[in-house]
């Protein structure tokens, strides 16, 4: 078989073509509410279909996490850089101003630090460094910056309370902040109204200094979660703890409560009135989409509601933790759920075949299905034909009313 030597010019042309194709491929998308620039696509309007998210080309394959807030987002790269975009009215983008920015912008102020964890609340942001420092910016009205006052900050500042401690993980809700330390302790600050930062003095509406959340049994906390007025933690055995505003029923809980002890949970995601839990490849919902309150969730698969936590007579707390019911989410045959995310009132998942599904509230196009309809069961999102064919994996992230999907490089996870 003849194997011609490709002339140098032709090789260069082929390389250029490949490069051009690479540039033309889309590897990050967003859709949903966009009036504050939170889609990062250069515009300020809602989109009902996936739009290219305008990360700088050098970030390709390096975006390892995206935190979605009320109307802003924070992207973290695998080498510790941070980009923010969307609503900046309270300084939550960390650029030293209060502008809304419709595309990812490098957060220069913390460029000399290697950031390992980020989180976004309604209007506040946090960045943890590889050496365990915590930087915060944005709205501090409820003490959610942990600064000891209730002032906003438009540049990241280091939270003094943690200078001698090692911060590992962050999870921010609407008006509160949770911090997991390397020594396994969980701290909370910000709004205390619904028990979301643990047990507080009566009538104490908020704390602007971090305080230890006690009540965990002897366990190793692996991850923490927050959204709305809810808080949660997952330990290494897969035991889930929830506290704060009740997901089901009326009774808030100001202490971490172990729930669903019969499940080994690998991932969870919190909305404002619902939560998702992934256990042994099965996906469940706790609570319900609030806007469908009068329209109870009826799942086409008619999977029976499972009561995994039988009531006991000595439980004096509420049904949200001890009697909660989980509803199984119908998923796709032959595909495994590998990643889940929740916005305020919508949900998203990615399968092992890198297929993205969304369901829940759709009024702002946050389901990415081309319309504004609500969906009770997961629907496949079409990311278009500019997807790199080599795309092995992607992750999905949600802000309040928007969704972000990012392809990550083969080496990253």
């Amino acid at each position: 078989m003849e194997k011609a030597t490709i002339p140098a010019a032709a090789a260069a042309a082929a390389a250029a073509k490949e490069e051009q194709e690479e540039e033309d491929t889309v590897w990050a998308w967003s859709w949903g509410a966009g009036t504050d620039g939170q889609l990062g696509n250069g515009g300020f309007q809602d989109h009902h279909l996936p739009q290219p998210l305008l990360f700088p080309p050098r970030c390709r394959g390096r975006v390892s996490f995206v935190a979605g807030g009320g109307a802003h987002a924070i992207a973290l790269t695998s080498d510790g850089e941070v980009f923010t975009w969307g609503r900046g009215t309270h300084g939550q983008l960390g650029h030293g101003d209060v502008e809304n920015i419709p595309h990812p912008k490098f957060v220069k102020f913390i460029e000399n630090y290697t950031i390992t964890c980020v989180s976004a609340g309604w209007n506040h942001s946090g960045f943890a460094t590889d050496s365990g420092q915590l930087f915060m910016c944005g709205d501090g009205s409820f003490g959610q910056l942990g600064a000891g006052d209730n002032h906003p900050r438009n540049l990241p500042f280091e939270v003094a309370h943690f200078t001698t401690k090692h911060v590992e993980k962050l999870a921010f809700g609407m008006r509160h902040s949770l911090v997991l330390l390397k020594d396994n302790s969980v701290y909370g600050f910000g709004s205390a109204r619904r028990g979301q930062i643990g047990r507080c003095a009566r009538n104490q509406r908020f704390y602007n200094v971090p305080r230890l959340i006690d009540g965990f049994p002897n366990c190793n906390i692996e991850n923490i979660y927050a959204n709305g007025d809810h808080s949660a933690a997952l330990d290494e055995s897969g035991q889930l703890y929830i506290w704060g505003r009740a997901l089901i029923g009326e009774h808030d809980d100001d202490q971490p409560r172990p729930v669903f002890p019969s499940l080994s949970i690998s991932q969870m995601a919190l909305g404002w009135h619902h939560a998702l839990v992934l256990s042994a490849g099965k996906l469940y919902t706790i609570g319900a989409y609030r806007h469908q309150k009068l329209d109870p969730l009826v799942l086409p698969s008619a999977d029976p509601v499972q009561q995994l936590n039988p009531p006991t007579t000595n439980h004096n707390h509420d049904e949200s933790s001890s009697l909660s019911t989980l509803v199984k989410v119908p998923c796709v045959d032959g595909e495994q759920v590998v990643h889940i995310a929740a916005g305020t009132e919508h949900s998203a998942l990615v399968t092992d075949k890198a297929t993205v599904f969304t369901w829940g509230w759709g009024e702002h196009g946050q389901l990415g299905l081309g319309d504004t309809c609500d969906k009770v069961a997961p629907q496949k999102v079409n990311l278009g034909n500019k997807r790199p064919c080599s795309s092995a994996s992607c992750n999905v992230y949600c802000g309040s009313g928007f969704t972000v999907v990012v392809n990550f490089g083969s080496a990253a996870n």
Partner: protein, 80 residues
């Protein structure tokens, strides 16, 4: 359609620019109810961006002739 949620006026924030008490809406915008609405006994806070609305819980007498709240001026702390 029912209210998205029920919120006490104490949990809403006064926004002088909008002349309204506000609370986060799940769409990313803010539920709003003006002082004039409250004086009239209105209980619904609406979001200008979507179809959702809140029920606001408050004592009507407190707002019968209420004036605009003084914003607790969050000014940067002077550094010594």
């Amino acid at each position: 359609m029912s209210a998205y949620d029920e919120v006490e006026i104490e949990d809403m924030e006064w926004n002088a620019e909008l002349g309204a008490y506000t609370y986060p809406c799940p769409c990313g915008d803010l539920f709003q109810i003006t002082l004039a609405d409250l004086r009239l006994g209105e209980e619904i806070a609406r979001c200008p961006s979507c179809s959702l609305f809140l029920t606001v819980v408050y004592n009507a007498e407190d707002f019968a002739d209420a004036k605009e709240p003084q914003k607790p001026s969050p000014r940067p702390v002077a550094v010594a």
